[in-house]
């Protein structure tokens, strides 16, 4: 991979012959008029989809046969690069003869695979995969128009990587099960992020609601919280004694729990904490702490992390402990 990437050639060299052929001579470009649809005893559906970031746009025409929901004619117009034109042409062809319900199941992966010369060799270079997504999205728009519903209703999962069609739930599961720590590992395990790379972090080709970087960080934090909670839930014999301890003993007991369970977790993320004070308030033990290092600016300092620290102290010492940050 390294050597190949050092001497990478033109991206056009990575297009399949089918892509080249469809770009040069698209078979289904054009439009369908109301009169033509009517002559076919069909309803005309026109749907537009535009990828704002790369400026590509596609318009899809369907003639859907009345009574059968079958797509009897399908045409497209496209403003876009070679891949966008070729994938729109193939997508239009794949719709032909299918019912609307069947067509809506066509994914960008199906479109890309239909453009391959040989089953194992991708039809387009990785950075062009997003162009096939546009063709997939316009089908959803057309089907939604026909059925009078929202296009998003066809999407059962929240997709993070549209090129590889990997959902958020799948990614979270794979990260947790395989203890993944890096983006490279995610790409190896799921292919998500391995194509146009827009889903890896902000600033790429497509703007996203959530990026792999964020998802990895959040999932790792969640895993850490789960680990701490499990640890905190482990039974401790001397828990009942906390209330009867002197203030010095309480301080030492809290410090001991912090040292054993809490601090190692905080240090892993470049942070730390110190115990500032303990006050008894209406039968509760209010433990005042101060975050240090990365913890002092961490977004979860007043939520998840605080909850984890409090749960750990409660579980190990006394249920009446409340942790307050300064």
């Amino acid at each position: 991979m390294a050597k190949a990437s050092l001497v990478s050639g033109s991206i056009w060299d990575e297009y399949s012959n089918i892509v080249v052929d469809r770009m040069n001579n698209p078979q289904h470009q054009g439009h369908i008029t109301e009169e033509e649809a009517e002559a076919m005893n069909a309803t005309l559906i026109v749907a537009d989809f535009g990828a704002e970031s790369c400026g590509d746009a596609v318009r899809l025409y369907w003639a859907v046969e009345n009574g059968t929901d079958k797509i009897v004619a399908s045409k497209f117009k496209s403003f876009g690069c070679g891949t966008a034109i070729a994938s729109s042409d193939i997508m239009t062809e794949l719709c032909m003869g299918k019912t609307v319900d069947e067509a809506v199941k066509i994914t960008n992966i199906d479109v890309e695979k239909a453009m391959r010369d040989t089953p194992d060799v991708p039809a387009v270079p990785p950075q062009k995969m997003h162009c096939s997504v546009m063709a997939y999205d316009v089908i959803k728009k057309a089907a939604a128009t026909y059925k009078g519903v929202d296009a998003e209703s066809f999407e059962e999962e929240f997709i993070i990587c549209e090129c590889a069609r990997v959902s958020q739930d799948t990614l979270v599961d794979v990260i947790k099960i395989n203890d993944l720590k890096t983006i490279e590992e995610i790409i190896d395990f799921t292919k998500a992020g391995g194509f146009c790379k827009s889903c890896i972090k902000a600033g790429g080709h497509e703007a996203k609601d959530i990026y792999l970087e964020d998802l990895l960080k959040e999932t790792r934090e969640e895993m850490e919280r789960e680990r701490l909670t499990t640890m905190a839930n482990a039974p401790k014999e001397d828990k009942a004694d906390f209330a009867s301890m002197s203030m010095v003993q309480k301080t030492r007991a809290i410090d001991a729990v912090v040292e054993e369970y809490v601090r190692p977790m905080l240090i892993m993320d470049g942070g730390d904490m110190e115990l500032v004070d303990i006050k008894e308030e209406n039968g509760n033990f209010d433990v005042y702490i101060k975050y240090l290092g990365a913890c002092s600016t961490c977004s979860t300092g007043s939520t998840g992390t605080l909850y984890a620290i409090e749960s750990t102290l409660k579980q190990n010492l006394d249920d009446r402990i409340r942790v307050i940050t300064l």
Binding site: Q29, F79, C81, H205
Partner: protein
């Protein structure tokens, strides 16, 4: 027919340059620093090459022209050495450049921003030009460097270097200009323009690839970028690439003499204008930037409804080489900052096609290119959803002219 219209990307090596370089591979292959005649035999031609380089940009004999691998190295050298020399010691912390610089400047500045350097990226005006007043207004007490290109690689628009140079001189700020796209196209006179440093690459003016230069005015302090031997007076170590230096010298001589620049302005400019006018006869086409203060070989054209990469595809099939700033065509998929800097509608950023000519283009080639461009526009507009269904002006124009 092959028609190469991508000379702002790179140029063919002039055969006269190639001839000059040949002896230095298998005959005069000595190391110039060796104390024997095999090495010293290279000296006369090296000296001649330096004469051509100094004459080409009107450098004073007391100034330095340091040979680098390319303008990217020269640009990086300037930015990073200013950081080492003036910023790391806390003396200054500010660099001024423009949004439309080559990545060799902007990416180097982005890198320094991560190190805590404050960088101002000035915007260009509606002509695609950086205004001198914008530079004046941006200069602060702690400004260490102003780095602004001489001519823009996409539009060919020339920046007011002399004016900006005067401002920097008045304010006592170091002034560097990336002159990569200017040399051989317009007169580059370092003394007249008040520049402290300029960068250039030989392959942009029919010299070989892999060699360029950094002009450094006498007295300008700049830490060496490559430490090692004492070559280049200790400013840039490494065994001299004699063939490349000789080639760059010859290329500079051929590209910058008065006759050559007049030919560039008249003949190349005439061909460019012919191409530009013919494309403007196609409805809904726009040339970015007027013809005033533009390099004579460059035209950046927006053809509404025709996506840049698909246009390149069709042109390439017909043997025509051009370039696009379209997002889809680049490996990193980011839209061209020059197109974005114009702040025009989003479609424009994806329809830009750059044609850049050279003295080796003929009228016959341009006629052929015009014919094939028209065919490509017709085909792609027939497919285009954008052109078929969006409102159009139907009138072509030179932008802001």
């Amino acid at each position: 027919m092959q028609v190469y219209l991508d000379n702002n990307a790179t140029t063919k090596v002039d055969e006269k340059v190639f001839e000059e370089m040949q002896p230095f591979f298998c005959e005069l292959y000595g190391n110039p620093n060796s104390l024997h005649s095999v090495g010293s035999a290279t000296h006369p031609k090296i000296a001649e090459a330096f004469d051509f380089l100094y004459e080409g940009i009107n450098a004073d004999d007391e100034d330095d022209i340091i040979i680098t691998a390319n303008a990217t190295e020269a640009n990086n050298w300037v930015v990073k050495s200013v950081w080492l020399d003036q910023i790391l010691d806390g003396e200054k912390n500010h660099i001024i450049t423009s949004e439309v610089e080559h990545p060799a400047i902007t990416a180097a500045c982005n890198y320094l921003e991560k190190k805590g350097v404050d960088v101002t990226y000035l915007t260009v005006n509606e002509e695609g030009v950086l205004e001198a007043d914008a530079v004046r207004d941006a200069i602060r007490e702690d400004t260490a460097l102003v780095s602004v290109m001489w001519a823009n690689n996409e539009t060919g628009k020339l920046f007011p270097i002399k004016e900006i140079g005067a401002i920097c001189k008045e304010k006592g700020v170091l002034f560097h200009s990336d002159a990569t796209q200017a040399i051989g196209k317009v007169k580059v006179d370092v003394q007249d323009a008040n520049v402290d440093m300029i960068s250039f690459s030989a392959h942009k003016f029919h010299g070989p690839k892999g060699v360029g230069g950094l002009y450094i005015k006498k007295g300008v302090q700049l830490s060496p970028y490559m430490h090692g031997g004492e070559q280049m007076d200790g400013r840039r170590a490494g065994t001299l690439d004699v063939a490349s230096i000789v080639g760059m010298g010859k290329a500079m001589q051929l590209a910058t003499n008065t006759m050559a620049l007049a030919y560039e302005q008249n003949h190349v400019g005439m061909l460019r204008d012919k191409l530009e006018k013919a494309i403007l006869k196609i409805p809904d086409t726009i040339v970015i930037g007027d013809r005033e203060n533009r390099t004579p070989n460059t035209t950046l054209i927006s053809i509404r409804g025709v996506e840049g990469e698909s246009m390149l595809w069709d042109l390439n099939k017909n043997g025509i080489s051009a370039s696009t700033g379209s997002a889809c065509a680049s490996e990193d998929l980011e839209a061209n900052p020059v197109m974005n800097a114009f702040g025009s509608d989003s479609e424009l950023a994806h329809t830009g096609i750059r044609f850049s000519l050279s003295r080796f283009n003929t009228e016959e080639q341009i006629d052929y290119a015009i014919e094939k461009i028209k065919e490509a526009v017709e085909r792609l507009r027939s497919i285009s959803s954008s052109y078929a269904y969006t409102p159009k002006n139907h009138v072509s124009q030179l932008e802001h002219n």
